[in-house]
């Protein structure tokens, strides 16, 4: 006997109870949050849906339901007007789901009655075009690009390492970039700090970088922090960001950023440069080693010349800055293997990459199980007051 659509709906309505919009809204309002499965098509879901609902198109319901709900769990099905959800209810009942109901009037009635609803975050047409080479990579895709747009990176220093790192992170569409630098652009910076320009000599480096980033990618919000990081401002600063990219040239800041990375459990991307050589690593708090596991103590000042004293090959900064940017992007996306547990050494003169193993130090005074981590006077510590004799004989 042939049965019409209306016949099917009528019989479904007898077997699958209906929930009214007002009742569901009241339950959600009181903190009772039953699972709502939206069985509409992708395009309908994309135009808006009930916040917190799970999307399983009706065509995939049988194959996907096991990953979403247990048969003994309460399930409220929803569609556009409350018909497809009734028919989907029959399917779930056949699969052994006892506590299935259908939202009467569906999403349309939900919306019309003034309940809250959301539109999923999507890339705009311009963004799809701008980031198309990212979107083509399966490990990134549209979801990954949205993650980058939602990520916040803090760069300590907008100089040799920070300039190329910030430039490429901005191009990649990292949504928020913070630049900490109290210095101004100098003509001697332009040999390597490619985010700055000749006509911006004298401008704060963060401000100068902001000009370049805004011209490159309007998707990026740039926060300029034109001061020095200190133990007094660093926690507030870091807590607004997902990741720290440390490209400073001095040990007090290196150790300060390592300690604050642990205190706030913020991943720290590290690189340093001198002449033809670069070091890079990634420190994931309490997951891998920290900077102090690698270098428990800073060298005395005479063993630690800065690039201002010893020089640096300009292009080396591009390589190392972009290794940092690469590590940051991978960490933001949660893909690949980072340099956690490894120190990468790049020798530009030999054109060799050497990798050293970095282990977590069980007695590390910063991240070990017995560590009592607190800020210290980093300047005094790094000036080597406590080992004056060693410095004097060196």
């Amino acid at each position: 006997m042939a049965r019409s659509y209306q016949d099917l709906l009528a019989s479904a309505r007898e077997q699958v109870p209906e929930v009214q919009v007002a009742d569901l809204a009241a339950r959600r309002g009181s903190g009772d949050d039953p699972l709502v499965i939206d069985v509409r098509e992708q395009a309908e879901w994309d135009e808006g849906h009930i916040p917190g609902s799970v999307h399983v198109p009706r065509g995939n319901l049988e194959s996907r339901i096991a990953g979403v709900a247990r048969p003994d769990q309460e399930v409220i099905l929803s569609c556009a007007s409350g018909n497809r959800s009734l028919l989907a209810g029959i399917t779930l009942r056949e699969m052994g789901f006892e506590n299935v109901s259908s939202l009467a009037g569906g999403f349309q009635r939900w919306k019309q009655s003034g309940q809250d609803w959301t539109v999923p975050q999507r890339l705009t047409q311009e963004q799809r075009s701008r980031y198309s080479r990212h979107i083509l990579i399966p490990e990134v895709g549209e979801a990954g690009q949205l993650k980058l747009l939602d990520s916040k990176a803090l760069l300590i220093g907008a100089g040799g390492l920070g300039a190329p790192a910030a430039f490429y992170l901005a191009a990649a569409g990292v949504g928020t970039i913070g630049l900490v630098d109290d210095d101004v652009v100098d003509a001697s910076n332009l040999q390597r700090q490619i985010i700055h320009t000749t006509d911006r000599v004298g401008m704060n480096k963060g401000e100068s970088a902001k000009v370049a980033i805004q011209a490159l990618n309007p998707d990026v919000d740039v926060n300029v922090h034109p001061f020095r990081v200190t133990r007094d401002n660093v926690i507030d600063l870091v807590s607004d960001y997902d990741i720290i990219i440390d490209g400073t040239d001095n040990f007090p800041t290196r150790y300060l950023m390592s300690d604050v990375s642990l205190m706030t459990r913020t991943p720290l991307i590290h690189a340093s440069i001198l002449r033809f050589e670069g070091h890079a690593s990634t420190f994931l708090p309490y997951d891998g080693p920290c900077y102090r596991c690698l270098f428990p103590e800073p060298p005395p000042p005479d063993m630690a010349p800065s690039c201002g004293e010893a020089g640096v090959l300009g292009v080396l900064c591009g390589v190392m800055g972009n290794i940092m940017a690469t590590e940051a992007i991978k960490a933001m996306l949660g893909i690949g293997d980072t340099l956690s547990g490894r120190l990468l050494i790049y020798d530009a003169l030999d054109m060799t990459f050497t990798e050293l193993k970095v282990r977590r130090d069980p007695d590390c005074p910063a991240c070990g199980p017995n560590a009592q981590l607190e800020f210290r006077d980093y300047d005094a510590w790094c000036a080597g007051v406590h080992r004056a004799t060693a410095v004097a004989t060196a």
Binding site: A158, D182, L294, D350, K357
Partner: protein, 95 residues
């Protein structure tokens, strides 16, 4: 013969040499041979008591000798000993 790789900050003490080939059966022997060739390196790496400074890491191939047998770690022909002081270079900005 094993190879000792000299970091940029120590090259003034080795007359600019980037790699030094020396003999030695342990890390201590290799370092002694290095000091004999380039005496100025000794004070950069060692305390007056003869220990390595804490801010200097030494790797035998890719492994920190602190996690092996320290200065007694055996070195065989063809091994590379890498001296690694911490390096801070980057932006001269935040402090």
């Amino acid at each position: 013969m094993s190879v000792v790789r000299i970091p940029p900050v120590l090259r003034a003490a080795t007359g600019g040499e980037r790699e030094v080939q020396v003999d030695g059966g342990t890390v201590a022997d290799v370092l002694d041979a290095l000091y004999e060739r380039h005496p100025a390196v000794r004070t950069q790496l060692q305390t007056p008591e003869g220990d390595l400074h804490k801010f200097v890491n030494v790797y035998l191939n890719d492994e920190d000798v602190r996690l092996m047998s320290w200065l007694d770690t055996e070195v065989t022909d063809g091994d590379t000993l890498l001296i690694l002081p911490a390096m801070a270079g980057g932006a001269a900005a935040a402090r």
